[in-house]
Symmetry: C2
Subunit: 153 residues, 2 copies
């Protein structure tokens, strides 16, 4: 029997030395997004597809080296170019869905760069509050996004 | 330019004099779901389709009589038969997306009936906190769900 779901909300903020259009492009461009979002040391990516439009899906299948197959299925719910991306996603580990989330990314021009605000409203389906690790996972991704933005040019 | 998104979470609880399997069926069966969820006095339903499975969509296009066209696009993220339904949806009014939400419905057997707990994590994209009206909207729907459960049989 399913245990009670744990609902949490958290936010992260980053400042990037690039205009909003460039930060937005790092979410919209499949090659760039794959680089900062899916590829990482210790991760094997079995599939990454991105259909970046409202109603489109992003699908990632991956394994931590030696680990079980995991999936991220993301649906884009709202996109305002250079300003906002809202998506819902579910994570599946070995055929068990472990969490679902609604994530809002807001971009604002700020002193020649971009202020990014990410707000995630998450439901932990296994009943375990995974906020700390989810938050640090997104923190690492947003840092990698910063590296990707600096690298492109 | 897009204003800041307002993020909120609220819960509603209901007790129904029917077992969880019957409450669950009222979400899973397209005819029953349409009756309590889409059809209502003063509402014209232009489309209602329900593909009740993980990864499936429910789409409702409707108008309040004399009003503008509205849409609800729902994706099912997690389904545990008779126990849990998790879905994400976006509401669109006249081509403008006004909100996105992640909704968890949990069902538990309770004294011969069912206790339903609905938790919605919502992002109001127009920057206006619509929690009170969203909450009362779901309250009315859950009451209609109760009527639908009693009517079937």
């Amino acid at each position: 029997m399913a245990g009670p779901v744990v609902h949490r909300t958290f936010s992260l903020e980053r400042a990037y030395p690039a205009p909003p259009a460039r930060v937005f492009a790092a979410f919209a461009n499949p090659e760039t997004k794959r680089r900062w979002f899916a590829e990482d040391a210790g991760v094997e990516v079995d599939e990454f597809t991105l259909d970046f439009r409202v109603g489109g899906f992003e699908r990632t299948r991956f394994r931590f080296v030696g680990g079980a197959p995991m999936r991220n299925d993301t649906l884009f719910l709202d996109i305002v170019p250079d300003e906002r991306i809202v998506f819902a996603y579910a994570l599946t580990a070995e055929e068990a869905r472990t969490s679902a989330a609604l994530t809002t990314v807001e971009l604002a021009a700020d002193r020649g760069g971009t202020r990014l605000l990410l707000t995630e409203q998450v439901a932990f389906l296994d009943g375990v509050d995974g906020t700390a690790s989810r938050r640090s996972g997104w923190g690492a991704l947003l840092d990698r996004l910063g590296d990707a933005i600096r690298r492109v040019d």
